[in-house]
């Protein structure tokens, strides 16, 4: 007997994917496809809520539901992250509406692919075995490859798609190879069973090798150093609304998979993956931040910023290297809390990039000079998002940083403390480049030859709604971060971590 209630969020989204295709065939004004997408994404929230409040509302026995022999699980973690994917896709659609109308792009298919990727994310959050996880990951990635190349006539976009595709496929190959090793040695690919695997098997070098390949595969997905090289080019070349989805949705999907693997499948092997993650986290922070300093294109800058943030999100995981099992929930909580805040503020930052590029005609920071003079509200929003990314209170980013430091320091071991110090130094360096666009927008005069676009995508209703949501999110979560903390705790409360 299949639990349709548990499948409902994915099912609603799946139907929306189909509906988007059908609507695209019958309507002339493609904006209706976007409307259908938005309605579908919104509709998928409903079963998420009924599942979350199942116990008080419908009298269910438990919020946690296991399907297909434990391969697909709906619990607090799946619900919260599922909501993140839906919300991210929602905002990404809003950001895309005008962009996609502004030139001769395929419109219907665009939203279809975006929805399919969101569906992948929702499934990813529930995946509790490797096969489901790989399917979900590909459902996220495949549309991403296509969307990155959506500007057919633009060489940069072609390059973006190709780089993304090749590195993505390589990542998948490594991941699958790693999984095959693990499966070969243990005979199972279910996380719950892997967590209880015989310690003797787990200590085999070949097993560690399998784990390493799996981690490397995710390293590409979350664009952590040294697997990040595709990121800046793909981010810059892809249509900017797509970049917003890649930097938030696709990256979060990678992190969700990574968290599931290390915390649910291999919690007892933290002395193996912990040091690996430590190196990758430290390298991501340092390389991401240092290279970002030199960037003068807003999307590229955000690209390197997202590499640095990957390092920050990995920091609590790295801190687990020498930590007792009791420390696992805190690290898991910290990573999830960071992802939630990261999604809100990064969507906002990319939204500003989309609107700003539409307004001033270029992503070069030199043409963003004087933004405050001619578009004050856009400039203020940019300052809010960029300083939130930098982690300045009272903007939401500070709480993400606090959660990260909390987990790293709370792990109470040299790995944790050292990664915390690396993170501290990096958050200081980061100020420099987050301030750069702000300096251009607020402190400098507009270049003489600047041609401003009339209204258009920069101030359309969809764009206003997207940016408005993100601004409210960043301010509210910054002042009442308890919301993030509660959601973060909720994800860990129903998991058996450190089992």
């Amino acid at each position: 007997m299949i639990d349709y209630h548990a499948l409902a969020p994915a099912a609603v989204l799946g139907l929306t994917v189909v509906a988007a295709l059908v609507v695209d065939l019958v309507v002339r004004r493609k904006v209706w496809v976007a409307v259908v997408s938005l309605v579908g994404l919104f509709g998928a929230f409903v079963p998420l809520l009924t599942l979350a409040f199942c116990e008080p509302l419908l009298g269910c026995a438990s919020t946690t539901r296991e399907l297909f022999g434990g391969s697909y699980v709906v619990d607090g973690y799946a619900l919260v992250l599922g909501a993140v994917f839906l919300a991210t896709a929602f905002v990404a659609v809003l950001l895309s509406v005008d962009y996609i109308e502004s030139d001769r792009y395929y419109e219907g298919e665009y939203f279809f692919l975006l929805l399919a990727a969101a569906l992948g994310g929702v499934v990813m959050a529930s995946a509790r075995d490797f096969v489901t996880l790989i399917v979900a990951l590909e459902l996220v990635s495949g549309p991403g490859f296509l969307l990155a190349g959506w500007r057919k006539a633009d060489e940069r976009s072609n390059e973006a798609a190709l780089k993304f595709f090749i590195s993505g496929v390589l990542a998948l190959a490594l991941l699958v190879f790693g999984v095959s090793l693990v499966y070969g040695l243990t005979g199972t690919q279910l996380f719950a069973e892997l967590a209880a695997v015989d310690p003797d098997v787990a200590e085999l070098p070949l097993f560690s090798l399998g784990l390493l390949f799996v981690l490397v595969g995710f390293g590409f997905k979350v664009s952590a150093v040294p697997f990040h090289f595709w990121t800046p080019d793909t981010y810059q070349g892809a249509p900017t609304p797509v970049t917003a989805w890649l930097a938030v949705g696709s990256k979060t999907a990678g992190f969700v998979g990574l968290l599931s693997v290390v915390f649910l499948a291999f919690p007892q092997l933290r002395h193996v993956w912990g040091p690996m993650v430590w190196v990758v986290a430290a390298a991501s922070m340092i390389v991401g931040n240092v290279v970002a300093i030199k960037q003068d294109h807003i999307v590229r800058l955000l690209g390197y910023s997202s590499i640095a943030h990957a390092g920050f999100i990995l920091a609590p995981i790295a801190a687990m290297a020498g930590a007792p099992a009791e420390a696992l929930p805190l690290a898991f909580y910290a990573a999830v809390a960071y992802l939630l805040v990261y999604a809100v503020m990064n969507l906002g930052a990319f939204g500003v990039a989309v609107a700003g590029i539409a307004k001033v005609g270029s992503g070069k920071l030199s043409s963003w000079r004087g933004l405050f003079r001619h578009s004050p509200s856009l400039a203020v929003m940019m300052a809010i998002f960029f300083f939130s990314l930098a982690g300045i209170p009272p903007l939401a980013g500070w709480f993400a940083k606090l959660a990260m430091f909390q987990a790293a320091v709370g792990a109470d071991n040299p790995w944790g403390l050292s990664i915390a110090v690396v993170a501290v130094l990096n958050s200081v360096v980061a100020i420099y480049y987050y301030a750069k666009p702000v300096v251009a927008a607020f402190f400098e005069e507009a270049p003489a030859e600047l041609q401003l676009a009339e209204a258009g995508a920069a101030s359309s209703p969809a764009m206003r709604l997207a940016l408005g949501l993100a601004v409210v999110g960043v301010l509210v979560l910054g002042v009442v971060p308890g919301v993030v903390a509660v959601l973060g705790r909720y994800t860990t409360s129903l998991l058996t971590l450190g089992g």
Partner: protein
């Protein structure tokens, strides 16, 4: 008035400016009278709330935290919205609301270029939230948030309205506008310190969980633990060091002070005033409120170093002043020296020293605030701050000249003016520091500090000679100079009056602080 005593009075004092700032954002930029009116009403109301706090504060129990509120904020991590004032924080809260009001008054007809009253006033009001908030916060996370809230407004203030002169960046050799350089430097230095401070807070939080049933960020409870000797050894050392970095950058203590002369010099007048009058006090206040009570052992262990850095700051600041040609930069360096006296007072760990520190903070806020106002107004008229070109100000603008003379006298610590008490008592406390500290060393500090007061007198008098006396240079002859205007009077007269009042009757501050300081010292060091 029960609601007022139950914490809502403090909430009002802290968050009224925020409400004002939000209203400002809703008013179109061109309606300047409305903007100014809203800002004035807000800052007046905030100051009134601050005065009302004085009225409701029970001075017979000045050692205890009062008028507070303690409600859950971020439940999941045990951070609470815990606020309150005692005799130590109350004068600083009132000072913040006072200075904010004067800054708004002064701004009435002094707008730096580019002209944008809306943004400037909104930033002033947001700054006020962070400043008063820091002084009333009794939870480490809340403290951190308020401590950081001041960063962005000040950053924008310096960056937008700052000095447009070109400056070469040391080491890198880039040429940058002063405002861009100074704003970023201010930001990076402060953030560097406060990031380590946050790590220190977290370490305390986790350690508290091994002693108490629940982990806590609460400053009061952590102070109790600290007094009971809960934090010792290398753990305490590293935490103290991390907190020290955060606070010392803000004060600023030598050698972490280098952002200050740049920020002060580059900032527009109101920015300099707020920076000098209030922002620097966040650091010294944090030493008194957090470092000493929570980590008394480490405070005692490292008092010699803090005292030494303080004295170096005094001497270095004074000598640096003598080398300046820019009037604003001179006043900025004088702040390094004055904050050195405040830190010296704190380093003695005695009730006299800490009392001295607090009256020193208030006095420095009033006097240096006035000095920066004057420097700003003079630069506005002369279009230069170069003391080589200024001169004969007494002949051109006699009233302004008298005020400058007054402020300089107050700054060099003339008895019967506010500046005297902080310096004098800090030196007195160094003669007899806390038991266990090396009296010989601290007496050495006392002598060095005394030399510092002489140097201070030296550079202040030198500045007066350069700016006020002598004959006006040829370039100023035949030009009309408006002497002090109405709104300048409105902003400055209260400062003058307060400076005299505190000088003649320091009990205005000691009456509040003494009980609280004695209690703090007793709790931390057992009397």
């Amino acid at each position: 008035m029960e609601w007022f005593d139950n914490g809502w009075g403090l909430v009002l004092t802290v968050f009224l400016p925020l409400a004002g700032a939000i209203v400002l954002l809703a008013i179109p930029r061109t309606k300047e009278d409305a903007l100014k009116g809203v800002a004035l009403v807000t800052s007046l109301a905030t100051f009134a709330a601050g005065v009302a706090l004085l009225g409701r504060f029970d001075f017979s129990r000045a050692g205890e935290l009062q008028l507070g509120m303690d409600v859950p904020w971020i439940d999941a991590i045990g951070a609470r919205f815990h606020i309150g004032v005692d005799g130590i924080s109350l004068p600083l809260v009132v000072l913040s609301t006072f200075i904010t009001l004067l800054v708004v008054l002064y701004s009435w007809d002094h707008w730096p270029e580019p002209h944008n009253p809306k943004l400037l006033l909104a930033l002033v009001l947001i700054l006020a939230v962070g400043m008063t908030g820091t002084f009333v916060a009794l939870d480490l996370v809340l403290f951190f948030v308020f401590f950081e809230v001041v960063l962005l407004p000040m950053y924008f203030m310096i960056g937008i309205w700052g000095d447009r002169g070109i400056r070469e960046v040391p080491v890198f050799g880039w040429k940058l506008e002063m405002r861009l350089y100074a704003s970023l430097k201010f930001f990076v230095f402060t953030l560097f310190g406060s990031a380590f401070m946050l790590l220190g807070f977290l370490a305390l939080y986790f350690r508290s969980g091994t002693i108490l049933p629940e982990r806590t960020f609460d400053i009061v409870r952590l102070s109790e633990l600290g007094a009971a000797g809960a934090f010792t050894g290398t753990f305490a050392f590293w935490v103290f060091f991390a907190l020290f970095l955060g606070f010392a950058v803000k004060v600023p203590m030598w050698p972490l002070h280098t952002w200050l002369p740049d920020a002060h010099t580059a900032a527009p007048t109101v920015g300099s005033v707020i920076l000098a009058a209030i922002l620097l006090k966040l650091g010294t206040y944090a030493f008194v409120r957090i470092s000493i009570p929570i980590l008394p052992q480490e405070a005692a262990n490292w008092a010699w170093l803090i005292g030494l850095l303080a004295v170096i700051g005094i001497i270095y600041g004074s000598l640096a002043c003598l080398a300046q040609t820019d009037m604003k930069r001179l006043i900025a360096y004088s702040s390094v020296g004055h904050m050195g006296f405040v830190m010296l007072g704190i380093a003695t760990l005695t009730s006299i020293g800490i009392n001295a520190a607090i009256i020193g903070m208030v006095a420095h806020g009033l006097i240096t605030g006035l000095l920066f106002f004057l420097a700003g107004s003079m630069a506005h008229r002369y279009h230069t701050r170069d003391m080589g070109r200024l001169g004969g100000n007494m002949k051109l603008m006699p009233v302004m000249g008298v005020l400058l003379g007054f402020a300089a006298m107050a700054s060099l610590g003339l008895p019967a003016l506010a500046g005297f008490w902080g310096e004098f008592m800090a030196l007195m406390a160094s003669f007899d520091p806390l038991d266990g500290l090396d009296p010989g060393l601290f007496r050495g500090f006392m002598i060095a500090g005394a030399v510092g007061t002489v140097l201070t007198a030296g550079y202040m008098l030198w500045m007066l000679r350069e700016v006020n006396f002598g004959e006006p240079a040829d370039e100023w002859l035949g030009k009309e100079f408006h002497d002090v205007g109405t709104f300048e009077w409105l902003a400055w007269a209260p400062l003058v009056i307060a400076t005299i009042a505190l000088g003649v009757y320091p009990k205005l501050v000691f009456g509040m602080t003494n009980d609280a300081v004695v209690r703090l010292v007793e709790q931390a060091f057992g009397g």
